[in-house]
């Protein structure tokens, strides 16, 4: 089984650490990349592409110095190398307008407002992983224990 990558971007180190702890239970099936800025994330994207590592989910903070999360995800959305990667926006302050821009232009699959709950974020990430695995057409059986049941059924029924 090939490990799936989850890329987390947040300019605050303590937020990344909190994410890391909450997502730890996925360790057996996932590997994590942590970045403190959108620029750094772009470098990591190039590395992942060069090594042909599947990027399943991006969890991205909204307000960051330099390129903000929505801008980053809009650009990322046009990146053909990662067309199946699921995008997830973490936001400290969701204003209506921003959220709409994000969802429309960056085609963000999910967003959560900070502070989050562990169960909540784990569930969302599992849904997104399932969507990724199924839309790429990977052997889903090997990831069964971290897949989101209902989402999986939806794919299997169609």
């Amino acid at each position: 089984m090939e490990k799936l990558t989850i890329l987390c971007i947040d300019d605050q180190r303590d937020v990344l650490a909190a994410l890391r702890k909450d997502l730890e239970s996925l360790n057996e099936f996932c590997r994590f990349e942590f970045c403190e800025s959108a620029d750094e994330a772009e470098e990591v994207l190039d590395e992942l592409d060069a090594e042909v590592i599947p990027l399943a989910v991006i969890v991205c903070d909204h307000i960051m110095p330099g390129k903000n999360g929505v801008e980053f995800l809009i650009e990322f959305n046009g990146d053909a190398r990662f067309e199946h990667t699921r995008k997830f926006l973490l936001t400290g302050m969701a204003t209506h307008d921003d959220t709409i821009t994000a969802i429309n232009q960056a085609q963000i699959n999910h967003y959560i407002e900070k502070p989050w709950e562990k169960e909540q974020i784990l569930e969302v990430v599992k849904i997104l992983i399932t969507e990724f695995v199924m839309s790429v057409g990977m052997e889903y059986q090997s990831y069964l224990s971290i897949l989101h049941q209902q989402t999986l059924y939806k794919y299997l029924r169609t």
Binding site: A17, A18, K21, I63, M64, P65, G66, G92, D98
Partner: protein, 449 residues
């Protein structure tokens, strides 16, 4: 018809029609001259005193739309309209005297063929015109006061709300921060008894948290992975701990185990570290919000450090300032007698304006520069930004209430920020002025010592 012509016309009418002593009435304050809904066949002219309209819909005196004083007519509508029904109840506001004519009035026209109505027309129209103008004036004033009231209320309730939220949050933060340090201490103690290795990693975590950046960790992890032939996950963990070279690592077959264990202890400590920092940060923000709220609720003056009040404003704005560089040059300053909340509010408004301008224009390398220095009799404080500045023709207007160029979008303005600044600074006997050109806008404040 102008006012003078009207006065002459009125004089003529009064002399001709309203000089009959038999057709005069004296009223005392509160007497009813006309009753709403009743029939009226008289046209009254006020000779002395004043009358108001009483109407069920009109509750307070400010709302009076009708007020008849000397030389004004009463009963115009019912007298000249065919219905003869009064549209309002007219009451004497004080002791009054009126003269009247009725429908039996003989036409005393100087010119042949001019009907009674034709003779009264110009004067009455003018009278109605004046009433209408008065009404408009009242409506206008009312709207204006309402708006002012509304804005004052909005500010006050914002302050109250902020204070309420701050209070609630502080309780929650206190619990978080107290428990974090308690746990920190006691978890440490427990480990100390049990196992020396554990306490060492725990303390490393709790003292400094994660000291390496994500990029440094990535580089380190790669190096460690090659050096010790570790799996990716273990290499990352080892890099995160940032083990000093003085710590001897166990032999390879135990290394993975060792790393997982140590990382747990380290992570435990780092969690407390992060908790404490976050709680401190949160309580600082709450403190600033409270100071701001105090400003709008009129708390008394005391000795205030300018430096502290500026720091508080910066904390309050730390989130939007994250993408802007802030330069501070504050010389040793004597405290001044002021209300800290109010000063924080002034600084916040000025910095917020700079931020808005820098962000909206997308200025490259945006910067806010704040400096303060003491003078013989006053303190001078400058807020400078490198945004596009304020157009010449607008510089005279920015201190006016309701002047704003932020009309759309998320950062819409009330145009009150600078008004509030000027008012507060003025109350302290200080001055605020602006100089602006593209790339350099400076607001300068002088506060007397």
């Amino acid at each position: 018809m102008n006012k003078k012509q009207n006065e002459e016309g009125l004089k003529r009418l009064v002399a001709t029609y309203f000089s009959d002593p038999a057709k005069r009435l004296k009223l005392e304050k509160g007497d009813v001259l006309l009753e709403e809904g009743a029939v009226n066949d008289r046209l009254y002219l006020v000779l002395q005193g004043s009358f108001i309209a009483n109407n069920e819909n009109i509750e307070d005196e400010q709302q009076q739309l009708f007020l008849a004083t000397k030389d004004m007519f009463i009963g115009v509508i019912s007298f000249f309209s065919r219905s003869s029904i009064c549209v309002a109840t007219i009451v004497a506001k004080e002791d009054c005297e009126v003269a009247f004519i009725d429908h039996n009035q003989r036409n005393k026209a100087e010119k042949e063929g001019l009907s009674l109505i034709e003779q009264f027309m110009p004067v009455v129209v003018f009278d109605l015109f004046q009433r209408q103008q008065r009404e408009q004036q009242i409506i206008f004033e009312k709207e204006h006061t309402l708006e002012k009231l509304y804005q004052a209320k909005k500010l006050a309730s914002l302050g109250q709300m902020a204070a309420g939220i701050a209070h609630e949050l502080n309780n929650a933060i206190a619990v978080v921060s107290r428990n974090a340090s308690w746990l920190n201490e006691h978890v440490g103690e427990m480990f100390l008894q049990e196992n020396e290795e554990a306490i060492r990693f725990f303390q490393m975590g709790s003292e400094t948290g994660q000291s390496l950046s994500s990029r440094e960790i990535r580089v380190q992890a790669k190096a460690l992975q090659n050096k010790y032939d570790l799996d990716e996950d273990a290499a990352r963990k080892l890099a995160e701990i940032n083990v000093p070279s003085t710590i001897k690592l166990p032999p390879l077959e135990q290394l993975n185990d060792f790393i997982n264990r140590s990382h747990r202890y380290w992570e435990l400590g780092a969690s407390f570290h992060d908790l404490n920092i976050a709680a401190k940060h949160a309580s600082h923000v709450v403190g600033s919000v409270k100071a701001l709220a105090a400003g709008s609720s009129g708390i008394h003056n005391g000795h205030v450090s300018i430096q502290e009040s500026i720091d508080e404003a910066l904390t309050l704005l730390s989130s939007p300032l994250r993408t802007i560089s802030v330069r501070l040059k504050i010389r040793e300053l004597p405290d001044i007698l002021a209300n800290k909340g109010e000063l924080v509010q002034v600084w916040t408004n000025l910095i917020k304006n700079a931020i808005d301008s820098l962000k909206q224009s997308g200025t490259e390398s945006p910067e806010v520069y704040i400096s303060a220095k003491p003078r013989a009799t006053y303190v001078s404080i400058r807020f400078q930004d490198n945004g596009p500045g304020i157009a010449k023709e607008e510089q005279g207007k920015i201190f006016q209430p309701n002047f704003t160029t932020k009309e759309k979008g998320l950062d819409f303005g009330l145009g009150l920020g600078l008004t509030i600044c000027e008012r507060i600074i003025g109350n302290y006997g200080g001055e605020i002025s602006v100089k602006s050109r593209p790339g350099k806008t400076v607001f300068k404040i002088k506060l007397p010592l």
